[in-house]
Symmetry: C2
Amino acid sequence: MTEIVQFEEVRWPNVWRVMQPVFKAGETYPYAPEISEAEAHTAWIEIPAATYVAVGSDGAVLGTYYIKANQPGLGGHVCNCGYIVSEAARGGGVASQMCEHSQREALRLGFLAMQYNFVVATNEQAVRLWQKHNFEIIGTLPDAFRHARFGLVDAHIMHKNLKG
Amino acid sequence: MTEIVQFEEVRWPNVWRVMQPVFKAGETYPYAPEISEAEAHTAWIEIPAATYVAVGSDGAVLGTYYIKANQPGLGGHVCNCGYIVSEAARGGGVASQMCEHSQREALRLGFLAMQYNFVVATNEQAVRLWQKHNFEIIGTLPDAFRHARFGLVDAHIMHKNLKG
């Protein structure tokens, strides 16, 4: 039974252990593969409005996501989220669970819509998953991501209205 | 004869005088209309990689623009710019001049493409101008901007490959 809880600082070492290999792989997130622990903490914990952790029944960190306004002031009613699932937990539905949780949290925090700015096109599993959750590809940025194995590849902007 | 020069701190009071009414109007930029001078300085001067000023032959500040990477690390080869023209200088070609200048500067700084994340759809003059400079609408974010007079309106993502 996976539970999603608000991030608390005591969990950071385990959260970072889940995040680092994802950034290091250079296949899904634009953060520099050699991003430092302090920079990752700033990006994932300090800047966002809220960060959450998916915890397995044994207490292991299975995933994490953040939520923040995608623009300041007059664009601040649309939020942005980023999700990471641990290597061990892939394919177990944690991403879906976090996606649904984040939509409820976004509404609770007063956001009207959710936007993903940079879904790497070769990350087909993610694209399909977000589409399954009724996110729409709004546009595709050509050669926007320098993929560790494939070189320059496209990135999608995806969007969902949360008010239905 | 309008000249475009790198921003220097001594010009800030005049740059802020040009920016503030634009933010205050709440029609084109998402920054909160009541943004403080310090917050504007952070957003326009400190965060960007570089900021420029368009100066008239009498020394007056006619406009300003910034340039910065639109994503970190593996997305850092695409830049983002923001432009503001003073009320007095509107319609005089300063925006076009800054747009062309910014593309040259972007190439000089090593960027391969330029992306505008948030061109308010009701700002038709800007949309037409960027299209004239061969920027393409990549996608349109529904109801992304809370316009001071029109309520929620769309915003375009626009993009141009700088390498031709």
